[in-house]
Every structure is written in C-alpha cells, then in structure tokens.
Amino acid sequence: MIEQNLPVLIPVSFLFAALLIPLIGNWKQSSTYPLVFGAVGFAFFLSIYGLSRVLTDGAIHYQLGGWIPPIGIEYVLDPLSSFMVVVITGVALLVLVHSKSVVELELPEKLIPYYSIAMLFLAGLCGMVVTGDLFNLYVFLEISSLSGYALIAVGEKRSSVAAFRYLLLGTIGASFYLLGLGFLYIVTGSLNLADLAKILPHIYLEPTVIVGFVLMVGGVSIKMALFPLHGWLPDAYTLAPSASSALIAPIGTKVAAYVMIRIVLFVFEPNYFRDTLHVADIITWVSAAGILFGSIMAMAQDELKRMLAYSSVAQIGYIGLGLGMANPLALTGAVLHVLNHAFMKACLFLVAGNLRTKVGHSTISEFDDSLRKTMPWTMAAFSIAALSMIGIPPTAGFFSKWYLILGGIENSEWIFVAVILSSSLLNAVYFFRVLEKVYLRSKDTVDVHHAHNDHVKENQAVKRNEVGFSMLAPTIIFAIGIVLLGIFNAVLVNEVINLIIPAGI
C-alpha cells in the first residue's frame, strides 16, 4: 500500500514539517530538531525504499486525488527521479545534521523560521523531481525558489542584495519556463509529461512547439546557472549563511539540471534537440566555456566560499556537457556527476562552515598551517574532496570525468575532451593553492593583527580546536562517501544509471 503512495509522500513529509515546525515550535522550541530530522529522515528512508522498488518492479505512478492523467496530476518515481530524490534527501539529511550548531551560532533568533523555510525548500526540490506534470513542476519550482531566496537573505548584511539579484534572475527564469509550458499547452492541450512525450513527436516542427521548447530550456538554464546565465550564483552562495549555502549549493542547481534532462531527453526525444534544433551544440559549447570560465574565476578568489561557488559554475558545465553530447557514456558521466558533485560540494561547503564556526572566517589568504593542527579532520576531509575535484582516482570525481571523456571521444569531440582534461589541471591549481597554505605556510609569515589569530598567539603550542561531533561526522561521512562512490561507481552505473539512460539516445 505504501508503495503506491511513495511518490507523493516524499514531498509531503517536508511540507508537513514546514507547517508543524512554526506551529509546535512557537509553543515548544525544542521540538524543532526532532521534526526536522523526522521529516528528512523519513523522506530519505522512503526515497531509498522507492529506489529499490523502482529498480526491481519498475516505475511507480501516483494519481493525485484519484484523477486519471492527463486530466489529473501524476507523481512518478522512475529510475531517474527516484535516484534524484535519494541524492536530495541523503545530502540534505547530512547537511541538516551539520547545520544544527551552525544555525544556533549564526542565526540564533531565527531558528524556527529558518528550519521551516528549509523544509519548504526541500519540499519544492523533491516535488520538482517526482511530479509528472509540467505546471505542477512550475509550482514546486516557485516554492523552492522563493524559499531559496529567503534562505540566502537571512545571511550577512549584503546577502539580501544577493538574494534580490537571485530573485530577479530566478523569476525571469521561472517566467520563461512558464511561458514555454504555456506555448506547449496551447498546441497540445496537455501538461502531463508522459502524455506530452506521445503527442509532441507529431508536431515537432510547429513554430509554437519550437518556441516553447527554447523558452523552457532558456528558463531552466538560468535556474541551473549554466554559463553565461550564472550571474546570480557567486554572490548568493558566498553571502548566504554557511548552513544555507551548504544546503543549496550541492542540490539546488542539480535539480534544475534534472529538469533540463527531463525536458530535453524525456518529454522531447533526444534527437530533437540534437539533430532537429541543434540546441545540443549550443549547450555543449556554453558548458565548455563555463567549465573554463568557472575554473579560471575560482583561481582568482580569495574567499573560500566564493571560490567554491565559481567552481560550481564549472561543475554545472560538466553536467551540461554530458547532456549536450547526448550519448550514453556522456550522459552516464553527467548523471553520475550530479551525485558526485553533490557529495564533493557538500563536503567542501561543510568545511567552509566548520572554518567559519571555529576560525571565524574562510579567507584563503589568511589560512596558515595552524589549521592542520587545530582542525586536522576537517582539513583531511577537505583534502579528499579537493583530490576528487581534481579527478585523482580512485575518488568519485575521476570517474564522472572518465565517462564524460569516453563520451566525448565517442562523438569525436576532441575540443570538449581537452576542456574536461585541462579543467582538471585548473582545479588542481586552485585547490592546491589552498592546500599549500593549510599544510605548508607557517603562521609566522601571516599577518597576525587579525583578532581571530589572537588566541593562537597566546599559546605557542596550538591546541586542537576541532568542531563538535555533530558537525564533524557529516563532513567525514561525505569525505568517505566520495572515496566509496569512486571505488564502487561501477555498481551504481550498472544497477541504477544504465536504467536512467533513455531509449533513442
């Protein structure tokens, strides 16, 4: 019985928590955390269960209100969407465990609204993934976006500016998407994804369909922060509170990437965007440009979170590249990178959060080797994530690149192979820049006027000053996860991702 309801239960559990937290929390604040972890833990359990059922028995469909699609709204767990909800809820679970201390430190007054909004944000993301209806997807997109703006705006002073900028661009993106689905609705009279997939091939060359498709892809590109539409991202990730950026950065843009994959490869047929409209070429070229741009900009940043934000722009490029090359190997790389990058970025943003909690800043030029003594485990996790970002086997990052490279070679697109490979080296430059400071730069050479260094000066032997267990454990789990995902990626590819690859690609 529960199986049939799985698709809807996942977003609904977050929605319930979002409502219950302010209701009960105002009366009894200590109930906030049980509600949060109850909701996200339950959703994670359901996602895992859903994935295992989908892998054995095939897709699960749920008809909202009993209305039969295409009239009613349908929620679907198929291999791709169940994979995505596992990624979202799994990463969110660990990040939220970590966020407990960070939120108490950074936003002591706003505990209840923060978690309520975070739950809404996750409800939106999960809803976007499981829904089988174009307009319902828009609704969830708006839920996640609006709550996302709020999550960012609660940060430092300037964060409201960043959030406003994101709001403007995000609204434009969402509007484009809405406009696009309107165009499709006018010609097809349907909003159901599966239904559209049946109708559309007959009218592919209608100008309305073409315009609708382009509007939707353009709109989603903004939400995905695909270069050159990434303008909102660096400020938003940098200025948001650590807890928010750790929650949004690993999974926020990935869900937009999921929507892109869903529309381009499932609602439409792969050869439509590849051969008929040649949109694929545009996506691959801008992605390649984004990879180089993001990596080079990351090298120039002095703030760790901003560096990671630019690195995200580059990593989204990998996903775009894999999608645009549109062959099974490249798409495997793209989907695997959704997961791998979620783990890597989550780990790195948690490290940034740990630094801000204990050291009070995450400015790269002020890092010195006292960090490796005060926070050895955090820094070890950072090193592993950094090696994975560079693509050193057997960490996860190597393998998504490996599939992307194979995909590029299969299409004989040598320039993209070269871009992927050279971006590894650029990643090496900006990560080793940090690692070198953390492990090799003795603190005597650093300016010690800053207040945060005062306690270091007091006692020459630097004392262990690692973050607490609830923050350290998620960081370490992500780091271990990065290695395990790499070593056992074949299992994942064979059992899950091969089922995701659509026919006709």
């Binding site: 090696l387 560079i390 050193i392 086997p393 057997p394 190597f398 393998f399 690149k401 490996w402 599939y403 490279i405 194979l406 070679i409 299969e410 192979v417 490979l421 050279s422 590894s424 080296l425 090496a428 080793f432 070198e436 090799l440 003795s442 070593i487 056992f488 990626n489 074949a490 299992v491 590819v493 064979n494 091969n498």
Partner: protein, 499 residues
C-alpha cells in the same frame, strides 16, 4: 611460444596493500618513533617476502591474477603478476627495506620535522608502486600512477622551504599534466578497441587503425609516461625535485617513481602497441631520437652541476633514457638490456644517493667542490660511491656493464650504429662527471672533514649492501633473484607474443 598459465591468487593483493595497511598504524604510533619505524620495517620485509613468493611462478610462466572489483563497467581493477611486474616489484620492494633503515638514520640524524608524515607517505608510495608493477590493465595502472603522484608530493615538499614548495608545484604541474594525457590516451584506446588489458606483443592485434591515429595515441601515451621517465624535454621536474630529503631522492627519484615511468614506457611499447605496430608506424624512431638526445644532453648537463644531488639527478635522467632506448630498439637483446638496466641502475644509483645523503647528514656538505678529502673521513661511504660510479660508466665487473652490454648488442641487432655510438660516448661522459668526484674524495685534501668519521651505521650499512649488490649482480646476474632469466623471459614474451 608457450602459453602463460593464469591462476587466481590474493598474494598480489596483499603485496600491494600491506604497506597501505601500515599507514594507519604509522599514523597512530606517531608519538612512539621506535614503534612507528617498526611498522615501516615490518611492512617492507613482509612486502618483499610476498613478492618473492611470486618469483618461482613468474619464472615458469604461471601468472597470479587478482580481480579486486569492477571499477567501471567492463573494466576490472585487476592485478596480474607477469614476469615484468614481478621483476619491477622485486627491485622496488627489496630496495625499500634498505631505504627504510637508511631513512631512520637520515631523519633522526638531521632531526627532521614531521617524520610521521614522511614514513606514512613513503608507505603509500610503495603500495602505489607495487600496484603499478602488477597492473593488469591501463585503468588499474592509471589509478596507482595517480596515487603515486599525489603520495610523492608530501615527500618532495618535506622540508617546507620556499625552494621545496616551488619544487612541489613544478612536480605537480608536470605529473598531473602527464596523468591527464594518460587518461586521454586510455580513453581513446578504449573507444578504439574496447579493452585495456595489457597484452604481451601489443593489445591492438589486427584492428585497423590509421597511422595518424596511432601516432597521436602514441604521443599521448608518451606524454603520460614520459614525464615520470623524464624524457627530454619533459624532464626538468626531476632535478628540481632534488629539494626532497635524500632517501626520497634515493628510492623515489632513482627507483620507484622514475622507474614507474620507464616501466610504463615498456608497458606501452611492449604490451600496448607491441613491436610490430611500433615498427609499422615508425613510432620506434620517435622514441629512439628522443632517448638518444636525452642520454647525451643529460650527461652534458650533469657536468654543469656542482650540487652533488643535482648532478646525480641529471645522471638519472640520462640513464632512464638508456632504458627507454632499450625499448625503442625493438630487438630481443635491447629489451633484455633495457629491462636489466631497470635493476642495475637502481642498485647503483641508490648507492650514490645514499652516499650523498650520508655526507650531507655527517658534514652538511652538498657541493662537489667542498668534497676534497671526504674519502679519508668516510672511506666506506666513498668506496661504495666509487663502485657505483664505475658501474654507471659501464665498466665491468659492476652490474651496469651487463645491462649496457645487452643494450649495445641490441643496437647492433637492430642495425642502429648511432645508438651504439651514443651508448659508448655516454659511458665516457658518465666517467667524466663521476670520476672527478672520486678523485676529489681520495686524492685531494681539505680541512672540511677534520674530526669527522663515518655516518651512523643505519646509513652506512645499507649503502655498503647496495654497493655489494651492484658488484654481485655484475658478477652473477642470476644470483638469488634470476634477474637475467626474468629479463630474457619478458623480452621473449614481448617479441614472440605469448597469448
């Protein structure tokens, strides 16, 4: 040709990972230096013993295979102990034992910082080297090759001086770029033939691939393995990496890392492309020209260096290209000579580096011009140095002569008279830049060494043993380890193509 018999075994797995298991133990016992060093010594003996048990099978064409797991769909992370792998693993693991003892004397003698990190990184490097030796396919090779790159970095920057840090940057720039090229080459190969398993005599078989594609692929491979093999013009990281502590230079920059590079060159020539494909597309000529230039240029550049370790580094660059030339000549004798030179150069060069380190620890002198009369203070050390120097010049009875003899014979067999001339000239140049050091040590005098004797026995004994080994293997190359038989077996399998 006889067919290699494959049986599954977990010994190669243990041989690779025993030093990796030692890493947490080393880290945990960081407060107890003697216990910490015990783990290193125990791991090194155990590793050598495990590799040694594989030797009889390798000599009788029995290959132990260990499939660890499927690393990407269709490709396993797999270890295979063919004769070549066992040969390389024996050398690296055997010399690790001596280096471990020597390291203890060295880091304690200098009171080095961060000794735990030092020994831990060393253990990871040895695991990676074994992994490279036993790789059954290119992906496994790449995995361990990249691990080796990263694990060596902390050793290169060990001193944490600005010089060491910039050497580390240069090292990463070169080796990570090489890794990227190797990945591209592997990806391309996989998309062309759908397999990445090493095959004696080449993995391309009958597949029809255009000459341009072959050349491009070969250059990618060459860039990938050539950096660690320090073929000119991509060699310059090696002299710079001499900023590392001397035991690191001794084992990694004379044996494990650089030999992984030339091992890779041999794998590419003999087991990826194969002699037939190499000759058909003129790829051997590319390799021959590059290695010939490197041998001569490196020997000449060595004259320029007054710093002892840097002179030895250039000498290493030259000698690595002996091995590359052995691969490029594509004849049975040249393969035998090149493979033997992996072993002989290892014993000789590690001796010389050990000597340089012993002098440095004892009297803090790094420059050759300061070494007048050091032979009187440290007769054993400089005696060992003399043995190594004679060997590198290719003079019998030291083992460098043997490998050079077969290289020369191989050059004649392939009809490359120029290659033979390069070998002869380079022998003279070797004598030219090494013998003056011996001369200074024994026949000049200075006040630099008054009151100094030999270094700590932990350092002197290993270097005497490696010098003795150079002599012994020169007199009897088959002693203990059947190095000669192994080398012949490997070259026959490549030429004849055991399937």
């Amino acid at each position: 040709m006889n067919v290699a018999e494959v049986y599954s075994s977990s010994i190669p797995f243990y041989a690779v990972f025993v030093s990796l298991i030692a890493v947490p133990l080393i880290l945990l016992s960081s407060r107890f230096p003697n216990l910490r060093e015990f783990w290193t010594i125990a791991a090194s003996f155990l590793k050598f013993a495990l590799v040694f048990t594989l030797l009889p099978d390798a000599l009788h064409d029995r290959v132990a295979e260990c499939r660890i797991l499927e690393i990407t769909p269709g490709i396993d992370l797999a270890l295979k102990t063919d004769a070549f792998g066992v040969f390389f693993a024996l050398i690296a693991s055997g010399l690790w034992i001596f280096t471990s003892f020597y390291s203890i004397g060295y880091v304690r003698g200098l009171n080095e910082q961060k000794q735990t990190r030092y020994f831990a990184s060393f253990a990871i490097c040895l695991s990676a080297t074994m992994g490279i030796a036993f790789s059954a396919n290119l992906i496994t090779f790449i995995v361990f090759y990249e691990i080796l790159t990263v694990a060596t970095y902390p050793l290169v920057i060990h001193k944490e001086t600005p010089v060491a840090i910039s050497a580390g940057r240069k090292y990463l720039l070169y080796t990570l770029s090489a890794g990227v090229l190797l990945i591209a080459a592997a990806g391309w190969t996989y998309s062309l033939i759908g397999t990445l398993d090493f095959q004696p005599g080449g993995m391309f078989g009958e597949s029809a691939i255009s000459g341009e594609a072959m050349k491009g692929l070969f250059l990618l491979f060459l860039g990938g393995v050539g950096v660690k093999a320090s073929i000119m013009p991509i060699h310059s990281w090696l002299p710079t990496a001499m900023a590392a502590p001397t035991p690191v230079s001794a084992l990694l920059h004379a044996v494990a890392v650089v030999k992984s590079g030339v091992f890779g060159v041999f794998r590419v020539v003999g087991f990826v492309f194969g002699p037939d494909v190499m000759a058909a597309h003129g790829l051997d000529i590319i390799l021959l020209i590059l290695s010939g230039i490197t041998i001569i240029m490196a020997s000449l550049l060595a004259f320029n260096e007054d710093n002892l370790k840097r002179r030895l580094a250039y000498s290493t660059v030259g000698h690595l290209s002996y091995i590359v030339m052995g691969a490029a000549l594509l004849s049975a004798n040249s393969f035998t000579g090149g493979i033997l030179h992996i072993a002989t150069h290892a014993t000789m060069k590690i001796t010389l580096f050990f000597c340089a380190g012993a002098i440095y620890v004892n009297v803090h002198k790094e420059n050759i011009s300061d070494l007048d009369g050091v032979g009187k203070a440290m007769p054993w050390t400089m005696g060992a140095f003399t043995v190594g120097a004679i060997g590198l010049a290719g003079i019998p009875p030291v083992d460098g002569f043997i490998s050079k003899w077969y290289l020369g014979a191989g050059a004649l067999e392939s009809g490359e008279i120029i290659a033979l001339m390069i070998l002869v000239i380079s022998g003279l140049l070797n004598a030219g830049y090494l013998f003056p050091i011996v001369h200074r040590a024994f026949f000049r005098s200075s006040k630099n060494f008054d009151g100094h004797g030999e270094a700590h026995p932990f350092m002197v004994v290993p270097l005497i043993v490696t010098a003795m080994a150079s002599l012994l293997f020169g007199l009897a190359p088959n002693l203990f380890f059947q190095f000669y038989d192994l080398a012949v077996k490997i070259s026959q399998s490549v030429i004849g193509g055991v399937h």
